[in-house]
């Protein structure tokens, strides 16, 4: 099997992003982050209905138009940043945490245990993420928490594989052997010497992974597996707007464009960091 050859798409792409692109991405991420922390800076109440102005197209007053209840779509997108970014970031925290733990265990354990763990990472990371997450949701039920854990679990293998590969290199390094010679205990060895040295590529992968997590979250909540209406989560908004597509394209396509811009910005930022700090090739 060539499972080991398959890497996350983002890590495979090798296109150099021009400077203005990086700046634009950074700016967009800054705005998105601000919206998540302080949405009222940009927009009013996302739930305020206005029956007199239903399904109106984009205008100076409503940049993204209004939806079927007369709610300001732009305001909902701004407030939705909190939901969608929270889901993405929480999922990545789970994936990175569990990935580091499992990767360390695999990298430090004996041949058979390592082989079993690595093979399962390989097999799992080749699976469609959507299906893995759906399997988890089928067991745990729908809802925001379940969605977060499902995405986190689906992304664990990506990080576990990288940490395992790094651990494998680090545990043979001279400074580890020296620490053993100086009588360092197993726990101290792992925490003081191995762990800090395997974490190098993780921050960059986490940025790229955040894009994947947000993409996955939008897809799953589009299927109705995440936060329920009237919550202004991006995927849920797009799904709601799908029903009015024949008369009001803006209710689903404009929130979708914001999701896309977020993911592109994260990918661009991730690739920039990758080049900047680690040279081109990872994993």
């Amino acid at each position: 099997m060539t499972i080991a050859l398959i890497r996350p798409v983002a890590a495979r792409l090798t296109w150099r992003v021009p400077r203005p692109g990086v700046t634009a991405a950074a700016l967009f991420l800054l705005v998105a982050l601000t919206s998540a922390v302080w949405p009222s800076l940009f927009a009013g109440d996302p739930l305020a209905a206005d029956p007199l102005h239903v399904l109106e197209g984009p205008s100076g007053q409503h940049w993204f138009g209004t939806d079927q209840l007369g709610r300001d779509v732009f305001g909902r997108v701004v407030h939705g940043a909190r939901h969608s970014l929270t889901i993405g970031v929480s999922a990545i925290v789970i994936a990175v945490g569990a990935g580091i733990l499992l990767g360390l265990i695999a990298g430090l354990s004996h041949r058979i245990a390592d082989e079993a763990l690595s093979r399962s990472f390989d097999a799992l990371s080749a699976f469609p993420l959507v299906l893995l997450a759906l399997l988890f949701i089928a067991i745990a039920g729908t809802g925001t928490t379940s969605l977060i854990v499902a995405i986190g679990v689906a992304l664990v293998p990506h990080f576990a594989r990288v940490v395992r590969a790094q651990t494998f290199v680090v545990r043979r390094a001279a400074y580890v052997t020296h620490a053993v010679a100086f009588g360092a205990g197993r726990a101290r060895l792992v925490v003081r010497h191995v762990l800090p040295n395997v974490l190098g590529p993780i921050p960059v992968l986490a940025v790229i992974g955040l894009g994947e997590a947000i993409l996955l979250a939008a897809g799953l909540s589009f299927l109705g597996m995440g936060p329920q209406p009237p919550s202004p989560e991006w995927g849920a908004m797009i799904s709601e707007g799908r029903g009015y597509l024949h008369i009001a394209w803006w209710t689903s396509i404009l929130p979708g464009a914001v999701v896309t811009a977020t993911i592109i910005s994260l990918t661009v930022a991730g690739r920039f960091l990758q080049r900047r700090f680690e040279g081109r090739d990872l994993a």
């Binding site: 099997m1 299906l131 759906l134 979708g256 896309t260 993911i263 592109i264 990918t267």
Partner: protein, 304 residues
Amino acid sequence: MTRAILRRVGAGVLVLWAAATAAYLALLAAPGDTVDAIIGDGADSPLIRSQIIQEWHLDRPAVVQYVDFLARAVQGDLGRSYLLQRPVAEVIGGQLGPTLQLAATAAGFGIVLALVLAVVARRPWVRRLSSTTELVLVSTPPFLIGIVLLSLFSFRLGWFPVSGAQGAAALVLPAITMGLPIAGTLAQVLRDGLDRALDEPFAVTARARGLRESAVLVRHALKHALLPTVTMLGWSFGVLIGGTVIIEQVFGRPGLGQVTVQAVNASDLPVVLAVVILAAAVFVVVNTLTDLAYLVIDPRLRRS
């Protein structure tokens, strides 16, 4: 070479077994009582409960149930749907057609478009343009591409049906939607491979023989660039399976995706697990085929 093939098939069987076992463990780990899940909203009495326990062999030890599950899975019997009270194989089998049709069309479209993008569009400014387009395509949620196409070509222009799977016209937009991201990924890998191959000594030799650049590209470089592309193609089948779940929802098409979403919403685990096992099977078959394709493309690999 036979040994190499056998080893690969063996590894594939192992992955399938692991997937089936993981699926079974998931079934065990599911909260709530299996009997409750089977009864659902139906009639409930101690007699019915004991009948269900009898019928599903729930009174046997977990290990026996596991072996039983594996034995039945090998024979293609994946259990019964809690929700529909029909054999899972029947539920899935009936919906496989439209999904396979969609996936195959999308893959075909994606491959052709990738070839065009990578091989034909080689002038610097065209490259920059298509690289940017590819980044956008890869980063856009597939369902958004679907919604944009639907809004433009079905609702605005009325060229294609709004939903359903009747006829070839209904296949066009979903296939484009799923083919575009695949084309984006494949084109990047293919272009990378071509660039590398064109720097190789054999490309210089071919040029020195007086071959036109296009002939060097198609006759010499393309074969080298195909190897990583075939790997990516194997990967994209997984993406296609995952993609159908969402795209079928966007376009209101019947198929495996609809069944999956319905099953997930109703916690109809046997159906969800069967879909996962099916995806694992597709993954194994595609990867084994990919490995065999390597042997066809690269004669050097046949020797070891």
